[in-house]
Symmetry: C2
Subunit: 199 residues, 2 copies
């Protein structure tokens, strides 16, 4: 074990996700040799995040203001809402440049094992938003795993009777992947979702 | 790209060694959801390290005081010095509980490619320490790579004429390893260093 502050730092870094004991030691020694100004900036941004970042009042995406950049943008299509689990997923969809509507961040997925039910997610807030007649389509973009699928099923049963078009992102083979290495479920989905080609 | 502080934090984290863009994003979102007190503690330890950690005046190991814990310890054997490249290596040797002497941290290894010559390392300070008649053995524990070997050769040529016993850590097969997967150089070294067994 190291002495005092350096061991404290290794311990603190080791608590971060994806940082093991060796990685924490490596980062700590990097910081020890780094410019004081750089370290100060890192410490400052850490504090800034806890102090300044809030959640959008409309869609619950992370935001600096009361409403997030997407909700504030007048060029976005207000008739479509893409429902995602986390703020990270908003960024993933944004990077595709395929969607010009608004988002709704649920804050997780239905997971009985983790004791997360529909009441723990921002589903009521989504229903309130749908009461606005402008919204005509909801695209469910929860993760393609057990919890995400359960959430998608729950949401579709809830939302379809409200008179909006509800869709789910396509499952299938990842682009650039190899058919040989695709798992059975993904390959099965790719068959189910096959699209007819036209000449 | 995210808004303001969260993107700043992702950028800062991404500069740390071993943290890629995905890892930085993951840590940033972890911090966003973490307890304010935990984040405060991490920011505090970062500052503490740059402010409080210094280098031992004798062996250049990291230390909180003028001399490090090893140099201060009256139970350590003052006749042997283990020469290592970095403070991290001191910890690695300490964990073996095989060595009860003192250390000397060079601060790197000779590497013409990186423009690091003997004058850039703490070799003069090592010679000053050897002037003390108490020291009778120097164990060179630089890394078993090109730079470490070059440094070991340079040091042995310099130190042997000074009348101390100079040794180098053994190279050979790693314990728990597999002969089949050992590289030729390591296996060759293991042959050269073979030890006779006695009944």
């Amino acid at each position: 074990m190291y002495e005092g502050p350096i061991q404290d730092l290794i311990d603190e870094l080791g608590r971060l996700p994806g940082v093991g004991p060796k990685g924490a030691q490596r980062i700590a020694f990097h910081i020890l040799q780094a410019d004081k100004a750089d370290v100060e900036r890192l410490a400052h941004t850490l504090r800034e995040v806890t102090e300044k970042v809030r959640f959008c009042e409309v869609c619950f995406n992370i935001s600096e203001a009361d409403t997030c950049r997407v909700c504030r943008d007048p060029r976005r299509d207000r008739s479509a809402i893409c429902v995602v689990e986390e703020s990270k997923d908003v960024m993933a969809v944004e990077r595709t440049h395929e969607f010009r509507g608004l988002y709704h961040v649920l804050g997780g997925a239905i997971s009985p094992i983790d004791n997360i039910g529909p009441a723990d997610l921002r589903i009521r807030e989504l229903c309130t938003r749908l009461a606005d007649a402008q919204v005509t389509e909801v695209i469910i973009a929860t993760d393609p795993n057990l919890e995400g699928e359960a959430t998608a099923t729950f949401l579709s049963r809830l939302l379809i009777p409200m008179g909006v078009t509800v869709s789910r992102l396509a499952s299938g083979l990842p682009v650039g992947g190899d058919l040989e290495y695709a798992d059975e479920v993904t390959l099965g989905r790719a068959f189910q979702g096959r699209r007819q080609l036209t000449a």
